[in-house]
Amino acid sequence: MKFLVVDDSSTMRRIIKNSLKRIGYEDVVDAENGREALENLNGIDIILTDWNMPEMDGLEFVKQVRTQNKTIPILMVTTNAAKDDIVEALKNGVNNYIVKPFTPETLKEKVETVLKG
């Protein structure tokens, strides 16, 4: 199972990668923003993306991914917690949503949920 973690914060990328490693997912690549992530989609099984990023934000990235892949599971991990933001993300193809700060248990639960479909 190959993960793509997209976040402009190197700290967050590291935290997410370590949390994934802890729950048994070691194959993780990362990107700093949506534009960079789009160039690294080959062979990816699941995407975890932040929303607020420079260059290309998470929502635009999700829209772009969905034009080429309708089924890949996408989990948005962001500080945005407003109802309108969550609904907008879901409407644009996000499968599930985590609000920062989060616990590793939540990450595990959400990853398993989106992988089950």
Partner: protein
């Protein structure tokens, strides 16, 4: 007024053209704002630069600490593998029963250390939250700058990304989880 002028005023230097009482209000205002008005872009840039430096340095610092924690995790993992190897090697040897107990005990302690280190690394999420709060401050300053530039006919600054409601964000983990889960369930019922 710079220090030289102040000193001259205090010392009653004759080179000061006007006594205090004769200085007009406009002149005072001009004097106060003379260092601000022509260089306001530079001053704004300095503030943005300083905030940006704070966020970058705190991110770098966090990564340094996380690097150390990851090294500890690696070492603990190596120790665990070493002990497991020895235990397996002497599995059938009843004379080594105390040694097996020691290995099991150290392995349990290793697990506790790993748990604590993972918890410490998770706690570093505060850095990203703090960074985004500062970015919102930068965004607000940028908007203010744009407004002033528009008023004064200067170029606009570029758009910045930040959490929309980051100002009320706390460090409490999974604070919004139940609400988010309920919303996702409702959305899926209605749309899928």
């Amino acid at each position: 007024m710079d220090q030289k002028d102040i000193d001259a005023l205090i010392n009653g230097d004759s080179s000061n053209p006007k006594p205090l009482g004769e200085i007009e209000e406009d002149e005072v205002l001009k004097e106060i704002t003379k260092d601000l008005t022509p260089n306001h872009n530079q001053a704004q840039g300095r503030v943005m630069g300083q905030i940006s430096t704070v966020t970058e340095e705190s991110e770098k610092g966090t990564n340094v600490v996380m690097g150390f924690l990851e090294n500890v995790l690696t070492t603990v993992g190596e120790q665990r593998s070493f002990l497991e190897g020895i235990s397996k090697k002497h599995q059938e040897d009843s004379a080594c029963i105390d040694w097996h107990m020691v290995c099991a005990h150290i392995t349990d302690i290793s697990s506790l250390i790993e748990e604590e280190i993972y918890a410490a690394m998770d706690a570093f999420q505060f850095q990203d939250i703090g960074r985004q709060k500062l970015m919102k401050v930068m965004y607000t300053l940028g908007k203010l700058n744009e407004y002033l530039n528009e008023l004064l006919g200067q170029e606009t600054s570029k758009e910045r990304q930040f959490g929309r409601h980051i100002d009320k964000k706390t460090l409490e983990k999974d604070k919004d989880k139940d609400q988010v889960d309920a919303l996702i369930s409702q959305f899926k019922k209605e749309h899928l």
